[in-house]
Amino acid sequence: MAETHSLQDMRQQAAIAAKVFIQRDYTSGTVCHFQTKFPSELENRIDKQQFEETVRTLNNLYAEAEKLGGSSYLEGCLACLTAYTIFLCMETHYEKVLKKIAKFIQEQNDKIYAPRGLLLTDPIERGLRVVEVTIFEDRSLGR
């Protein structure tokens, strides 16, 4: 019988079996975009569509953060006019989207990944270089 794990239980008790790293995809330049290729190590743990959907949503969120448009230009010009002192009082658009991303990853972990013995690490904790997926040992089969 498959045991569903809560995030806390997993972190405290389970041993780490492996870690998979989803690297950045630089084909469209220096924008933050992760490869959507499904890693083979996750084949028997999670559905390919679900995983690709998670990565695609992440990519869309980062694209939104780095979007060049009217609002970002306005923010930049306003900041320049105030000699960038406005950054001391105001949260930038990028920071707001990063909070959204953190919440999204938390949700994904709670609903989809933790029950399957997986854990997504927020890319910001790895310098926006990789999406780290920790695969925990499946103890439900052991005991």
Binding site: F21, T30, L68, A79, A83, L98, I124, R126, L128
Partner: protein, 367 residues
């Protein structure tokens, strides 16, 4: 029943970690302290940077010329206010010191922002990441054409770009990233290391740097113009130019030199901003075809001067990736240090084993 193998328990091992004889311990790291208080990430930062105000401000290791830069700007402006302003306010307009003051404040604030902001430092790879990359490098290279080891080729906007592996940071450097040897960090969109501001100029602080040199150009041009006007008005006043020059300290040639060098630098960086290039790329000739390759164009340029300017100067402000003020996680603190040495991780494990064995022994004796 568990394995109740008797092990000699060294009472010393319970309080202090047993050192591994193979590697010398790093003097700055004291494992006892980690257990007592949570440390902030800037305290264990591996690069050669200095931090002030509990990690709020970051500068390069040698910030020696920054005080000189500040001093030069301050002295020039003070001399301007003391010697030229009274005369010009009387003969021209009261706005002269006001404009000078605004430009001065703008230049100094931009300078401080450039010096104390994280330029876009990439944190070093965690041990697991580094191991994964090593594995990938070993597995690849089975095709007939073998690229030189530790490089990776990617296609960016139909242009082949080589990504180099950084041996210090243990990552494949993203495009436009370069490793600064002075700061010992990989910096994103690395422009150059500026000794005048005492920091690297990269993705996060390029706009501050550009604002600084442009506002400084305006400030020196303004002072230069005011000084010239002052001398001209005094010369007109009857006694001639030579007497006027003698009366006033020789700020004229000094300001002139400063003005032309800073104007030149501003002009150069304006060209870089308009073509979405970095100083590093321009010097190396990465996209101008100097290396003899076929038609290479800058793949990052939007091919529109206005879009390039807007994206470089007014684009979204990226976050700092090094999280200076965050706390080092307790279970990972020994791992982050162990990037360099294995000592703390092994010592921690030994401690746990000793305690477990102690407990087992006690249980077996009692039962």
């Amino acid at each position: 029943m568990k394995n109740c193998e008797y092990q000699q328990i060294d009472p010393q091992a319970l309080s202090t970690p047993t050192p591994t004889p193979t590697q010398p311990p790093r003097p700055a790291v004291e494992e006892e302290k980690e257990e007592e208080r949570a440390r902030r990430k800037w305290e264990v930062f591996p690069g050669k940077n200095r931090f002030y105000c509990d990690g709020r401000f970051i500068v390069a290791q040698q910030s020696g010329v920054l005080p000189l830069t500040l001093g030069l700007i301050l002295v020039t402006t003070v001399l301007f206010f003391v010697f030229d302003c009274p005369f010009l306010v009387k003969h021209l307009t009261v706005f002269i010191p006001a404009i000078g003051g605004v430009l001065f404040v703008f230049a100094v604030i931009s300078l401080l922002h450039t010096s104390f902001t994280d330029p876009g430092i990439l944190p070093r790879a965690t041990p697991d990441e580094a191991a994964d990359i090593e594995k990938q490098i070993d597995n690849s290279g089975s095709s007939t054409y073998r690229p030189p080891p530790r490089t990776k080729e990617v296609m960016i906007n139909e242009q082949v770009v080589k990504l180099k592996y950084c041996f210090t940071c243990k990552i494949f450097r993203p495009p436009r990233t370069s490793h600064c040897s002075l700061c010992d960090n990989c910096v994103e969109r690395f422009d150059h290391h500026c000794p005048w501001v005492g920091n690297c100029v990269g993705k996060r602080n390029y706009r501050f740097f550009y604002t600084f040199i442009v506002s400084l150009s305006f400030l020196t041009a303004f002072i230069f113009g005011c000084v010239a006007t002052h001398l001209a008005l005094r010369a007109q006043g009857g006694r001639g130019l030579m007497f006027a020059l003698q009366e006033n300290p020789a700020r004229y040639p000094f300001t002139k030199t400063l003005f032309w060098s800073i104007l030149g630098l501003s002009g150069f960086h304006t060209y870089l901003v308009a073509s979405n290039l970095t100083t590093n790329e321009d010097i190396k000739g990465s996209w101008s075809g100097k290396s003899g390759a076929e038609d290479t164009a800058n793949p990052y340029s939007y091919n529109n001067i206005i879009t390039n300017c807007c994206s470089v100067l007014c684009g979204p402000m990226p976050p700092s990736l090094i999280d200076r003020r965050g706390f080092v996680p307790v279970e990972e603190s020994s791992q982050t240090v162990a990037t360099e040495i294995e000592l703390p991780m092994l010592a921690a494990k030994n401690e746990i084993n000793v305690e477990d064995n102690c407990l087992d022994f006690a249980v077996s004796c009692a039962g």
